[in-house]
Amino acid sequence: MQIKTNQFGILEFDSNIIIKFESGIFGFEQLRDYLLIKVDTDVLFWLNSIDEPEIAFPMIGLRLIDEGYPQEIEHEAFGIVNMNPEILKITVNLKAPVYINQTNKSGYQKILDSDKYPVKFNLFKE
């Protein structure tokens, strides 16, 4: 299969690496199939829709930000990142984590019922 992504151009891949989100991502419930992309030189992961390849979510592993972040069995927690030309204004969504199981290629998103986790948390500091 191949898709044309915004950030990485045309990518070719086998369908067995597709990650399925049965309930989609909040705001994009109709999109279920994603490619998880990692560039080794960058801290970000990219969750790129296969059905609408222009839709992509940069994400960061939340263990890097908060060692105590709520984990789910056999899943990795990611936060969706809001990019900004000014690096210090880049934020990560701690309220609605994306949980991905890279072994069985499935994922889901949650909204945490806690005021401790904001939807926009500054990702970087000086």
């Binding site: 705001g27 970000l44 940069p58 908060d66 105590g68 809001n82 990019m83 900004n84 030309p85 609605a96």
Partner: protein, 82 residues
């Protein structure tokens, strides 16, 4: 939209397995008890909207040209949880 009037302690059934019960009513606030299967997600409406809006913004801002983020300090949380 279906509009139902309920009193203290009365319930509403949504399908066979979702129950919403009025637990208390006091000046401008109503406390609801919701029983639903595990796979039914329950959110406060305004929080769901805020999350959705932030994610739509994230998908739009993902088209920004990538800066080199590798040399910038991550804003780690020492202890956000109890």
């Amino acid at each position: 939209m279906l509009i139902l009037t309920r009193k203290f302690n009365e319930e509403i059934k949504i399908g066979s397995d979702i129950t919403v019960k009025v637990l208390s009513i006091s000046d401008g606030q109503v406390k609801l008890g919701i029983t639903a299967p595990n796979n039914v997600e329950i959110f406060r409406g305004e929080i769901y909207e805020k999350v959705k809006q932030t994610i739509i913004e994230a998908s739009l801002s993902s088209k920004e040209k990538l800066a080199d983020l590798s040399k910038i300090n991550l804003n780690k949380i020492r202890k956000i949880t109890d």
